[in-house]
């Protein structure tokens, strides 16, 4: 049973001040100079937007940065000297995470601790406490309820705040959440305001549910049987293969590892974000590319998120945040695609007709 508490707006502000004063990094959705909302380090809760639109980029970059140094090397004749990067995982508290973003990091935890335990990912995960704020229901691109989540989903959060009159109903969900409350005990009052929070939660859920009601099990069944279905022939016509969808996606986690020389003798090994939407992603050294057109690459994206990941890890690799839809310059619409796939009978490719994408 999670602990229910209440924190006023001013108490949350004081809590943030105390964190910053103690040297903890404070991160939340804040506006850039050009008006973009992004998760970034803030010095004050006043900079952080606790509700509204999802930030343009997700929270994943705080656990898997777009680029990071793995090691440096030095090579002279036969000698090679390798120095691992001195990673320091400083304590970080995220305030105002959107529940879809918190759920995403919890989903990605699975693959990061699979055949290989990713120390960099978990170093940062362990050092981070996530305080989410329940979302008001998002916009026309949101579909979290269709993938088993909700605007007030607790998955991946250490504390979930739900806006109520004068402050927030707080659900303390994990040990890290408890530790945060203990360290700032004076800021919280016992009991919570579950009743008052209910109306907000119900309204938000209803709003998202209206966007898409698809059955993930049906979609998965179609994907598992429909690898050669004619729908894939035309699925990605408008797609540019630009990969912006994957880069803003909170759950896409593929990376590339490169060695970049700093001089003749020295160099740096880095890992950088990569995406299955890029033609080069599967290009073999022989010149053969098994995913030689964008239709195959989109199929891969759908398969990975809605069939392969669930089969291997028991979770859908999509939180319905809608960023891929908002960002797509070609008008690709995952919500629409899921709706379409969910209506197709599994394993009956001959009956399908290619409509105009």
């Amino acid at each position: 049973m999670t602990r229910q508490m209440f924190i006023s707006e001013s108490a949350l502000k004081s809590l943030a001040e105390e964190l910053v004063k103690a040297g903890t990094r404070l991160v939340g959705p804040a506006r850039e100079r050009n008006g973009d909302l992004v998760y970034r380090e803030a010095s004050d809760l006043g900079e952080i937007e606790l509700g509204g639109d999802p930030p343009t980029r997700s929270l994943k970059e705080f656990f898997l940065p777009p680029t990071e140094v793995l090691l440096t090397y030095r090579q002279k004749q036969g000698d090679v000297e390798v120095t691992p990067a001195p990673h320091v995982f400083a304590p970080l508290v995220v305030i105002g995470a959107r529940p879809c973003d918190a759920a995403a990091v919890a989903a990605v935890d699975k693959v990061m601790d699979w055949d290989y335990h990713d120390e960099l990912w978990f170093g940062r995960r362990l050092a981070t406490t996530i305080v989410s704020v329940a979302c008001g229901g998002g916009d026309a691109s949101c579909f979290c309820t269709a993938v088993g989540l909700a605007p007030d989903s607790a998955k991946g959060s250490d504390v979930l705040l739900v806006p109520v009159e004068g402050g927030f109903h707080a659900e303390i969900l994990t040990e890290k959440g408890e530790a945060l409350v203990k360290a700032h005990a004076a800021r919280f009052t016992e009991g919570g305001k579950a009743e008052a929070a209910k109306a907000y939660r119900d309204a938000a859920r209803g709003k998202v549910q209206a966007n898409l009601s698809a059955d993930p099990a049906k979609i998965r069944a179609f994907l598992e049987a429909g690898f050669d279905h004619p729908i894939w022939k035309g699925i990605a016509l408008r797609c540019h293969g630009c990969g912006a969808c994957a880069f803003v996606c909170p759950t896409c986690h593929c990376f590339d590892i490169v060695d970049e020389p700093d001089s003749i003798e020295r160099g740096t090994r880095r890992r950088n974000w990569d995406t299955c939407q890029a033609a080069k992603f599967t290009l073999h050294g022989s010149g053969h590319n098994p995913r030689n057109e964008q239709n195959c690459r989109i199929r891969q994206r759908m398969m990975h998120k809605f069939a392969i990941y669930p089969a291997r890890f028991g979770e859908i690799l999509c939180t319905g945040c809608g960023r891929c839809i908002r960002v797509c310059p070609g008008g690709m619409d995952l919500l629409e695609t899921l709706d379409k796939l969910g209506r197709l009978p599994a394993g009956a490719p001959a009956e399908a007709k290619r409509g105009a994408p």
Binding site: H240, F247, E260, N272, A278, E293
Partner: protein, 290 residues
Amino acid sequence: MQELRELAKKLLAEGAVKVVVGYAEGRQGVRPIFAATPEDADKLIFDPRCVQNLATYLSPRRAHVAALGKLAVVVKGCDAMAAAGMIREAQRKRDDFVLIGVRCGGVLADPRASAAVTEATVAARCPGCEVREPKIVDHLLGPLPPAPPGASALDARIAELDAMTPEERFAFWTSELAKCVRCNACREICPMCFCVRCVCDKSQPQWIESSPHARGNLAWHMTRALHQAGRCVGCGECERACPVGIPLSLLNRKVARVVAERFDYVVSDDPEKPAPIGTYRLEDDQEFIR
């Protein structure tokens, strides 16, 4: 609108083309449609929300589109310039595709917007446009709307940047480029980025570091801007595609202006006019070679 739909249906019925690439209403705003049937053709529209440069689908890199067969593409002036660029640079032959030109009065910045074209809502690239009636096209449809209102916000911003000291300007671009995550959306959507193998993908030797750090980002965007010199059609799709909001149009327009001043060349929809990047002229300024 009806004129466009009827023409599309005629081209499809006659077998002149397999697919008409045009604009259609989507769930959220206007987006491209690949119309292969009369029913699809009835969905075609053209209005100021049609911001996308559809000529990009003619790029030889798009195997999934090329597989459809011969295309007709609905083009505004800026899109027609891209099609002409592909012909000029020997990527496609003029007979490979049909161009359906639409007379244009400027488009909105965002295909999801619903406002009319005003000084406040018009795409930054549109004011001052000189190709509102593309000449290279096979068909030209619609009445000519009034010219896009106002002056270009891009020109004003470039003037501000020109007035900066080199240090200030470098600081501006450093901070903008720091946001780049190297997704390559700017490259992939660009009709003039048609190389099958991009210089930034080469790893032996690696000319451009692929990491999104200051050095790699600067090398990539400098290289791209210079490759676009005298080639960029100014459609602004790179900037629209950028998921982190880098003002790439500023860079491209500045370079285009330098090319106009130094080489007396402005990109047009005339594929016969040779571009400076592939031309040697004795009268070109040589003063930088000392």
